[in-house]
Symmetry: C2
Subunit: 125 residues, 2 copies
DNA sequence: CTTAGTGTATCGGTACACTAATACACTTGG
DNA sequence: CCAAGTGTATTAGTGTACCGATACACTAAG
């Protein structure tokens, strides 16, 4: 899961790290209660500063995915599926609102966006 | 059309300027061939640096909406409706691709996005 | 030709995000 | 109790976007 990061990507390192972990948690690969690698361990493996890993962990904490316990480690949180669903819906709404704002500045309507989404979504669900 | 800019907005000044002009052009308020205010004129009116207006004009130029002629002025481009339609579709595609990338990092699927889009679009077309 | 007006080009200051470095405080197992 | 391992907190360095200032090059009207 932690092969390599792309240092030249415009996506920040901490964001890349968070994205991988989030995906793993959402997919159930990391069960609630499971311990994540320690900040230093993961930092060493990814050739990155520990503070960067911390930033990723903090982001996941703010989203309710993990819990950081000083002196102990970082662990996957147990989140009720209902709450998780609401969270996802809220995040999706935020994303879409941003999209609509950008589109409005470009003079692009909702219909065009829907068409583009259908086209881009293609095979995916 | 050029009453005031919001200096405290997270949206850059040049982007606010470009958005207004783009909207005016798309709406047909500025016909092809029409001259935009000169860089200095608009800058003075908006209490902004000329370079900031230039940045807005350049953005519009990159999108094919206007043409900058040194020594002469800046003019609205005549773009065939077919090409404009393709441009908008391309822009919509770029926006949606960005959205999908963001959503993927958050573990959000296309279906949730579509639902959010439908909800947010509500009254709009 | 001259000149006033246009866009062009480059540089500097500022603010902010990102990453790293380093010292600190807590927890746990022996 | 204490040592090793964990997260915490603060600070500094780096890059980049944004905006302004200023000097330059071109165009067109008189």
């Amino acid at each position: 899961m932690f092969d390599r990061l792309d240092a030249r990507s415009p996506v920040p390192l901490y964001d890349q790290i968070a994205a991988r972990l989030r995906a793993a948690i959402v997919a159930g690969e990391l069960a609630p209660g499971a311990a994540l690698p320690s900040v230093r361990q993961l930092a060493a493996r990814l050739r990155v500063n520990p503070a960067t890993v911390v930033q990723a962990y903090r982001a996941l904490e703010a989203e309710g995915f993990v819990e950081l316990r000083q002196g102990a480690g970082t662990f996957v949180s147990a989140v009720p599926e209902s709450r998780r669903g609401r969270e996802r819906a809220a995040q999706a709404r935020r994303l879409v609102e941003g999209l609509l704002a950008d589109a409005a500045r470009l003079g692009i309507g909702v219909d065009a966006l829907r068409a583009a989404l259908d086209a881009a979504a293609g095979g995916r669900r």
